[in-house]
Subunit: 502 residues, 2 copies
């Protein structure tokens, strides 16, 4: 790709060459020239479409133009307001319904205990006997126990007293943000509720019999949503059993691999899964040293399945990467990093400067990287090193970084084809689909009026390109994708009663 | 200034030169190097401060650091939420109180009928006899009339019935956004209320005896807020008298000039005023042709006072510049433009593409230019041509383009020292001071943790540099500014009971 400054140099030279006022024709031809240069730099513009893709793109863009024109008139635009309030509007969009059908590539930024829909979790895990809970003000904890214990109440008994309907809807409120009328104003308020959701889910999901089913179901939901590959982040939590025993981190990773392998064997369309070990960042340096040792073991034991290392939890409240730079630098000789960095609005805060350390520590991708557009030097180093930003549009919105997604920095990044991938972070907490809602948000809010199927295809291609698949693995996966993509495009063109135009 | 890509090229070369993992020392020195490069590119970093300015900067930054640290902890930050809700938090900030005292240069983007505080208008214009009003649902119109007429009610009579307190607070609700608990969700809803405020104000302000006082009071308020020069945009409305006569546009401009001259004569600190003729854009091309003829007359008759031409009103609803490109191109041979462009979140909409036409028509500055960061090519042409963006932070927030001002594109523009000036657009409608609130928002939200007095001084310098003052005029003005600046810095250092540290 040619760099902006080179193009600009040429255009301004041309324009300045004209010393008198241009004629109307000259003016309009400059105008077209400048705007074409802009368009050519934006996402996916380099991709060629097949004639079938062109047809499909035609349908897609008719639907999109209608929706954009309506929104422009009314100034009502679903991605402009919190997903917690507008998800119904996403669902009633025809563009969204169409995007749901298409293959979307890989999910590269997702956390393991927020992968699967809460409805599934409630229906399949909370009806199991032996589930107990503890309420402290608004925080709720769950645990499977062999029998009642002091301080823990039986959920089964509550079901008998209150009825399943009432208990299920209470569980939904506990496990999700905003299913009631709660409002989270500041980033901290968002995170308090968000952490409560995670803590509540943790005790249910890490019960061993649930754990395996939960992950298997996640992959099933992903495949259904058009995803074919995943790199999940996990703290590798102590998966426990009724007898009080719990798995080590290596055993937990092995269980993930085993479940992933079985799923792949059953589903020929599926390309595979990998694991990023992502322990909590709110810890002393010595813990990070231990975590890196665990990561080294995982790398040795699970060379194909293990992808690398990250540190997680609310960045603004945790320790910055620079506090751990000594062990991280040392381990960087053999370890691949996928650091969360710059998930913040606070310019030049410690969170913000995590971007510098992530990039200088040669991170493979950046988790969120929300603040990258305020760092012109880091941005260009990142582009040079080809470090993709894992953008999670709805997560950033729900967790308070931005209201109108058209103001998300990624809306600027796509204009110069900066490497990004779209992901969903913690979809279960806000009830979005694995990738479709985020794809729609990116297409409409980042892409604006001009982005078409090529932007979507470029995002898919990026998701494979910036994954940690090996060369051969990737080729096999690309073939599976191409196959599915062609099939879906054709189905949409020829078979769909609603949008079939051919 | 060195361009980003040049710097980046050097840094990446250096960093890439190192083939092995760097030592901790090497790493930390790269880190400092990269971050310094970033800092050096940002606003005002090229300015040298005197030792007194350094002292003052020390005080300023202590106060700022405390406020930023508190906000970082609590995630409560006034510029992150609508000014209509947080203006009290601005007022209780010590940084804000300090910024209020310093000279702020020129206001280059302001509309004539929203220049002066509503409190002044209510107290000084609505107690005059003969003021009548007409209410239609939520829209209120005012008009001074010789006597009662069908359809118009006397405000004086209402005062007698309801009492002054109640009438004054009703007037405030009519003339301002959000003095009650109203919420404006979408851009359109904001503009409906905003236009109602303007229409209500128009009938009061354009009564000739009020008109002169209103403008004179505006200049007084500006001077008090540390402003020394203004370029106001006006539609040159039909200023009327009780006998039914009204001024022509030229007469209106002459009245402005006369008032401005008298004010300047009385206030030696004041540098002057100029006029931008800015008629409504919701018109056929023939009207634009006529408007340009008026502009030509103004230019001939008031060569010093008249600055140039613009087109105004909600861009999304008006005709784009490209519709008028033929007459605009023709007039560009002799006319200076100050186009509103890109005051929108709608990427590649007609409003958005106004940016292309503004720049290609050689606009002198861009009003708002909110969408510029989504146009890398236009952005670089704009930089090359040295076209400043007139940024109105609080206006953009209140009128619905962005919630958290840290997501405003200007927060990115200041990182590469893109030419901007800070202005306030329509301060009376949301009750902000002429420039202090917007300066505070820019300093805290665009500048982040790192920006200091040099950013503020750079903004002041820009406001003079991008004004339409002639060379000599500018030199005189700079001297007045320097004088005032030095005086205020000293007063703050030596005399202030609160912040005097020396």
């Amino acid at each position: 790709m040619r760099l902006p400054w080179q193009i600009v140099f040429i255009i301004t030279l041309n324009f300045k060459g004209l010393l008198t006022t241009p004629s109307l024709e000259e003016y309009m031809s400059y105008r077209v020239n400048v705007l074409s240069q802009e368009l050519n730099m934006s996402y996916g513009q380099g991709l060629e479409l097949t004639w079938e893709e062109e047809l499909f793109n035609g349908v897609l863009m008719i639907l999109k133009d209608v929706e954009m024109a309506q929104s422009f008139q009314t100034s009502e635009f679903p991605p402009a307001f919190s997903f917690l309030e507008t998800w119904r509007d996403y669902d009633s969009s025809e563009v969204f319904q169409l995007l749901k059908t298409i293959p979307k590539g890989a999910i590269l930024h997702i956390h393991d205990i927020t992968m699967t829909s809460v409805d599934w979790l409630i229906q399949n895990a909370t009806y199991i006997a032996n589930l107990y809970y503890k309420e402290e003000e608004e925080a709720v904890e769950f645990r499977f126990l062999p029998s009642g214990t002091q301080g823990w109440s039986s959920l089964q008994e509550r079901r008998e007293t209150d009825g399943n309907g009432q208990v299920d809807s209470w569980l939904k409120q506990v496990l999700m943000m905003g299913t009631d009328s709660e409002k989270y104003q500041t980033v901290n308020e968002c995170w308090v509720k968000f952490m409560r959701c995670l803590n509540a889910a943790l005790g249910i999901i890490t019960y061993k019999p649930v754990f395996v089913e939960y992950f298997d179901r996640a992959l099933e939901e992903y495949l259904l949503d058009g995803v074919q590959y995943v790199e999940l982040r996990s703290t590798l939590p102590p998966v426990y059993d009724l007898d009080g025993s719990s798995l080590t981190q290596l055993e937990c990773a092995l269980l993930y691999k085993d479940t992933a392998d079985k799923f792949a064997a059953r589903n020929p369309d599926w390309c595979g899964s990998k694991l990023i070990f992502a322990p909590i960042r709110h810890v002393p340096e010595s813990t990070v040293v231990t975590d890196l040792e665990v990561a080294k073991v995982l790398q040795a034991e699970l060379p194909e399945f293990f992808a690398g290392f990250d540190l997680v939890a609310q960045e603004d409240k945790g320790f910055p990467l620079v506090d751990f730079v000594e062990p991280l630098l040392e381990a960087s000789e053999y370890m691949t990093y996928f650091f969360h960095a710059g998930e913040t609005d606070w310019d030049w805060s410690s969170t913000d400067l995590n971007l510098a350390d992530a990039i200088l520590l040669n991170t493979s991708r950046i988790g969120h990287g929300y603040a990258i557009d305020k760092h012109p030097v880091l941005m260009e180093i990142g582009r040079e090193k080809d470090i993709a930003i894992e953008v999670n549009p709805i997560s950033n919105q729900v967790l308070g970084l931005v209201s109108d997604l058209r103001n998300h920095p990624a809306a600027t990044l796509v204009k110069t084809s900066y490497p990004i991938v779209i992901s969903s972070d913690d979809p279960s907490v806000w009830g979005s689909l694995p990738l479709s809602h985020d794809f729609y948000a990116a297409f409409m809010a980042f892409g604006g009026d001009s982005a078409d199927l090529r932007m979507l295809k470029q995002l898919v291609m990026n998701s494979f390109r910036y994954s940690k698949m090996g060369l051969e693995e990737r080729n096999v996966c690309l073939a599976k994708f191409e196959n599915r993509w062609r099939r879906v495009i054709r189905e949409n063109l020829y078979d769909s009663p609603d949008i079939g135009i051919v």
